[in-house]
Symmetry: C2
Subunit: 455 residues, 2 copies
């Protein structure tokens, strides 16, 4: 391999971005306002104050293009950032493609994913506003791990409502959070009205993300010293994740390259958006022709098969009503191994940009996802998370198209996390036990039929 | 935190060392030769050829100070190296110490440890000598994972004999190796005479590292296309691991610092030695006064309580007889959670240097180790491996001494791996279930009494 571009492009600590990028400033059509789940009127800052720090609410509503990253947050980022931009020479060789493939690797921290990028500022802003304790929910465990770590660093308490079935099946994720000092509670629990109500009906309830959200929100609402934290979907989370794309832009500059296609997997939107939006600034303000592709599981096809409408953010109808692509708040996606991509809706920002034609979407089947994951591991060393492997599956498809056409396109994707805690899924794949899933139109219509016309 | 030294010191790919460092060249007393386990005569290259590539045997015997790293190996190193040198600002603050603490982080690859540094050249040298397949044993799973990855990268087959109890209790480690294409066999197995003999006596045998070594060696000896690979102890493994210390020296130069104390945990010696020996070159050739400390578990105290004598490398008496610090080849250490540190003996190189007074040794109890691990995780973010946490426990002790005396010593240690696969051990610690262990003199004498006078 003779090459002028190294395997990894680093930034020094001094080059760590000092401001987040807020795409709201550049959007031709701003997202519709959130509606209050009870009144169905536009939700104002006061509606959010029982749950969130004022600084985070400001970020949620802000139309400022750049927002300063506090020094205290940058000091902690410097422990695990800037993350390297990696040239996938091994994968390119395995695919025999003229395409140039790059990825940003966000798994080099013990939460195992990009989630720590938002957990740190969320803990910080709450800390300086006098909040002593954060509550949250976790399904697969990545977000709960990230918030546990962030709270440990700022000396805050952290209570994580972990979906009962994950609590029982993923004891290591629970122990990881406890190692960082978090109080991990199996949800439904006896600690909240929401939990007690479920347990009264079914003492053996396996729980759900919806129930866990309700418990975490109730916990925060009933205590003055406690706020709630969410790991994706919201504007301020996507703002924090812009650190990924901002770093990547500087890294591409250093090697005098620029992506033709930018790819990310899509659950609640923060990983794709964090990676893509800083580049999309160029498209929105200067008309650059980059392609942006959000990749979702065929088992949860909100962008490719959902509708753009006002819907509840959660099953329990406690979260803000959001104008977004949705499969219906009662929609329960087929069981797949990318737990982070099973959300029925999407972020307001990404939904609007997709609606306006700036973002493309693709859906992939999970056997293709794991096939791509194994090929990536064997050629690039890193074991990718199932979520991130959705992006890999799409990138491989594009790279093979380049092989057909002879085009040397530059493809960039976000490798949002590692798969060290997902080996049970790899085992099923290697044993040939994973199944694909395709919804019929009837099944999708049923999910959407439960959404009342709102707004 | 105002500071001129960054959290992480990087090297560019161009600065990746081009040669390994061989301490044999600088030792005032060379290690005694290995003896053949049957003849008890000094073992020559021909004795090793059924098992190892010629280039590796040359490295094992070489007294050349610097040995070139092949370009193919450097190209793969560039996927996960150079590893960052990290200033432990978080830990320093938590300890309120004037000491400056640095660590090299070797866990940023999916084997989870420094082991990949030697797996890559071992696979490479075998590949170019026409070998198609490597066999090895694994206990905790780190070395087996590393060799699986290296074989995947060079398109070689890999068979890993995994101790039955680990195979059953650590299914994720098994799946990790399988993901990289390895054939993982529970040991004892029906594939070898050694395995069949054990199973004939006890069909439910849980296996041991000794048995797994016997099976892997037999597998390699009976097939022309297959060689054997070992993850520690041998001179050529320690040579490959010198990449750690060589990088660290360049990194310290960049920030105009130099360590006063260098610390590593000690199992078979490759991690400590890889980190320390390139610095020890300065001590051996120029008399620099750096302190080198190998930290071992109190439950396996070969340096602090063993004897310097000729002993077998394995229970089955098939490995070379080595002049080393040992607790006796029949010694079975107490059960502890640092599986990588349970070897009864040590490398010939490290043993000789310890005997000659260039290296100090310390033993730590496992509750102190996990206490240190948790403090490190909460202040430095990374979740350390139990093995590496032996070094951390000692570093914390030294840093607290600096606090007493007011000395701002520079302490450097090797964070050889992450603890993502060791959460069961963390869980036991957090639940207060871990126990410490101290041997009586009688117990230690009994282990050593089985070693015949050899050589």
């Amino acid at each position: 391999m003779s090459k002028s571009i190294p395997n990894k492009v680093y930034l020094s600590e001094d080059e760590l971005p000092r401001q987040y990028y807020n795409i709201m400033a550049d959007m031709p059509n701003k997202p519709q306002p959130y509606l209050h789940p009870m009144t169905k009127k536009p939700a104002g800052p006061a509606d959010l104050e029982p749950l969130f720090a004022k600084a985070l609410i400001e970020q949620e509503m802000s139309a400022e293009r750049y927002i300063d990253i506090p020094k205290e947050v940058r000091d902690i980022y410097a422990k695990f950032r800037p993350s390297p931009l990696v040239r996938a020479y091994g994968l390119e060789k395995a695919l025999d493609t003229p395409a140039k493939i790059y990825y940003k690797y966000e798994g080099n921290n013990p939460s195992g994913s990009h989630k720590l990028n938002s957990a740190v500022p969320q803990a910080f802003y709450n800390k300086i506003e006098g909040i002593k304790r954060l509550s949250t929910e976790t399904g697969a465990g990545q977000w709960g791990s990230a918030l546990s770590i962030a709270c440990a660093l700022f000396g805050m308490e952290c209570t994580v409502y972990m979906v009962r079935v994950s609590y029982d099946q993923k004891p290591y994720r629970k122990t990881l959070m406890q190692t960082y000092g978090a109080n991990v509670v199996a949800s439904p629990s006896n600690l909240t009205n929401a939990g007690r109500a479920i347990l009264a009906k079914d003492p053996n309830s396996l729980g759900s993300l919806g129930i866990a959200i309700s418990e975490a929100v109730e916990d925060a609402a009933m205590r003055d010293d406690t706020h709630y934290a969410l790991g994706s979907v919201l504007n301020h989370v996507i703002l924090h994740q812009s650190i990924i794309g901002l770093e990547a832009k500087k890294q591409f500059e250093k090697i005098d390259e620029y992506p033709d296609i930018i790819v990310g997997c899509n659950g609640g939107g923060s990983n794709f958006s964090g990676c893509a939006f800083p580049f999309m600034h160029e498209t929105l303000t200067k008309g650059t022709k980059t392609e942006y592709v959000a990749v979702e599981p065929a088992a949860c096809p909100k962008l490719t098969k959902g509708k753009f409408m006002y819907d509840y953010g959660d099953t329990a109808k406690m979260a803000p009503i959001t104008m977004m692509y949705t499969l219906g708040h009662d929609f329960v996606p087929a069981g797949i191994h990318a737990g982070g991509l099973r959300y029925h809706g999407d972020s307001a920002l990404l939904s609007q940009l997709y609606h306006d034609g700036f973002v493309k979407a693709a859906a992939v089947q999970q056997t293709d996802v794991f096939k791509a994951a194994v090929q990536f591991a064997r050629s690039e060393i890193i074991l990718p998370a199932p979520e991130s492997s959705h992006a890999i599956a799409y990138v491989i498809q594009k790279a093979l198209e380049c092989k057909e056409t002879g085009e040397a396109k530059t493809i960039f994707f976000n490798l949002s996390g590692h798969g060290n805690f997902d080996l049970a899924a790899y085992e099923e794949f290697l044993a040939g036990k994973l199944e694909d899933f395709e919804y019929t139109d009837e099944m999708l219509e049923q999910g959407l039929s439960t959404v009342p016309a709102i707004g």
